[in-house]
Symmetry: C2
Subunit: 351 residues, 2 copies
């Protein structure tokens, strides 16, 4: 018997919303951020779920995340919109940016939404899937401060900046959501907690030396060497520098601004219905997926998976059966609830 | 003394243009394709340079590449243009697509150019650098038939689809140009020719088994496992499926169309001057590059490089000193020249 507590999607969302409202967010904003966090848990991406709540509350209390942001459009063209997010919680800013990109794409074929001065973006696939459900081929990027080794360096130089791409599919959108590191920081934390040695090529220690010791692993290495850190650097340029809110240089120069939590986000939407029959597009996505899934499998591989497939299955299963919360996360959330005077979430049982 | 012959940039371009003109291209088209191939050689990306000429001539003679294409705009919105490339040589189609994206971006902030039914795209960075010189942040993708193992499969399922991103920089644009495989097919061919064993994790043999034997390596593996093949699959969706010219499914289903050489390309341009001061943007790119290059170096690393830096140096050096052509490539090109009745390029000397 495991000690994981199991919580329904609704209980998870309600709890997260109550915490965020108590930390100062308006009820609609609290509900929106809670939905993005609970979605990550439902998709099985627990590193981006409610486990982030204590950090969000810290950021809100430190003033790095603004509970009452005044989002403003600070730039607009026929196909693009730039939103100053006023340090809004990431899901508020990115939802606006993707909605702006989608609106522009319907009018102009392609649309760009830039979120300047946002905060933790949560799971990027949340925004691209939403756009894909609206008939968009969507791309999202998020820039953050350096937490990953740059290729050839012994120190953090870029972020594990995620990239997500989604397109309308058959029943579900096809959605890729990946970081640019070999592994995420969250995965290293997981290995530290469980004490499992990590493979060579995953991480550097605090002195910037390669390590397989989970207790010493600090910095993820970029995926595919120069490719991963190059991609992360270009994401900073496309995202932070286009909106004149640099993160990498400010951090590496150790300016007061650079050492505060800040992010920028980019959303691109392409309205596939402007270029062909959208039903035919979805059929061709399905056909491509079918062809890929039918490929001969490597030894020991049970099934060929397409991007987002595992997440969609987790979503269906967890929506039905509830989300398991590991004991350390439960304990941390219970302490947070206690501190804020919010009722702890109720469980469905244990799994 | 090596036996490489050294050829000036002009001689390389003139020779390539003469070959392509003899194979049926108009003089301006021959010059344009020759420039793209010579550019790759100058940048040190010899796998995408004049070594491709015999293959281009084969494709032209087989009718897969059209020497007299009638490019047509088949779709247009305020911010996007879709060009049917009529099987034009890739550089003709991609130059049009990027020019269209750039023109649209000036008007609308962001622009999309799609090239449908093009052929071999050549070096993708050629198009993004050109757009960056025009003040654009540019993204280019190219879709091709499967030549890379899909993650978990023992057969080709996707292409080593390249992605290029460039932004205006200080003296030079910052440009990333990468495939989605651990290595390129060209790199495997190189190892085969030199007989050098390849590292584990690079490739599969013809039966889809992992191999380190360069004589048996057939299929590159995707970079970072599921990330590389997922990215390649999404590039097929964004590029081929939006223009209703599927490559992956047709190939895997072994349709007559699927087994012919076809590509599709996508270009996105973002006019950074619509969102801020373009001079300030370039300064911030330079500042970020400076900060990254100043990172503490890992043991054995002489210099931290940013995307495109090595290529820019090769370009300067080879423009000055000429392009070295290895003996097997020289021999192949001489045979091609003889066959077509074109004068072989003249050398500057041997290096």
């Amino acid at each position: 018997m495991s000690e994981h507590r199991v919580v329904s999607a609704d209980a998870l969302r309600d709890f997260a919303a109550a915490v965020l409202a108590r930390a100062g967010l308006s009820a609609p904003h609290a509900a929106a951020v809670a939905d993005a966090l609970a979605w990550a848990n439902l998709r099985g991406v627990d590193t981006h779920g409610v486990t982030r709540l204590p950090r969000y509350v810290d950021l809100l209390q430190a003033g790095d995340m603004n509970p009452k942001p005044a989002l403003r459009v600070v730039g607009e063209t026929a196909a693009a919109v730039v939103i100053d997010a006023d340090r809004a919680p990431g899901p508020i800013a990115m939802t606006e940016a993707m909605a702006g990109a989608t609106r522009k794409a319907r009018a102009a074929g392609i649309g760009l939404g830039l979120a300047r001065a946002t905060t933790h973006t949560a799971a990027l696939g949340y925004y691209t899937i939403a756009a894909a459900r609206e008939g968009m081929a969507a791309i999202a990027l998020a820039a953050s401060w350096p937490n990953m080794a740059y290729h050839g360096a012994r120190a953090a130089g870029v972020s594990t900046s995620p990239i997500s791409i989604a397109v309308p599919g058959g029943r579900e959108p096809l959605v890729l959501d990946m970081g640019t590191g070999v592994v995420s920081v969250g995965r290293l934390t997981q290995a530290r907690k469980s004490g499992t040695p990590i493979p060579e090529g995953w991480a550097l220690d605090a002195e910037g030396r390669p390590t397989t010791d989970p207790q010493k692993a600090e910095l993820p290495l970029p995926m595919a060497g120069a490719k991963g850190s190059g991609l992360a650097l270009m994401i900073e340029c496309l995202t932070s520098l286009v909106v004149a809110n640099p993160l990498v240089s400010e951090f590496l120069e150790e300016t007061p601004l650079g050492l505060r939590h800040r992010q920028n986000g980019l959303a691109i939407a392409i309205d596939v219905s402007r270029f062909g029959d959208p039903a035919a597009f979805r059929r061709e996505v399905e056909r491509t997926v079918r062809a890929v899934k039918a490929l001969p499998r490597a030894d020991g591989v049970d099934e060929i998976l397409v991007p987002g497939e595992r997440g969609a299955r987790a979503y269906a299963q967890r929506t039905r059966d509830g989300v398991p919360i590991p004991p350390p996360v439960w304990k941390e959330l219970a302490a947070l609830a206690e501190r804020l005077g919010v009722a702890m979430m109720t469980t469905q049982g244990e799994s």
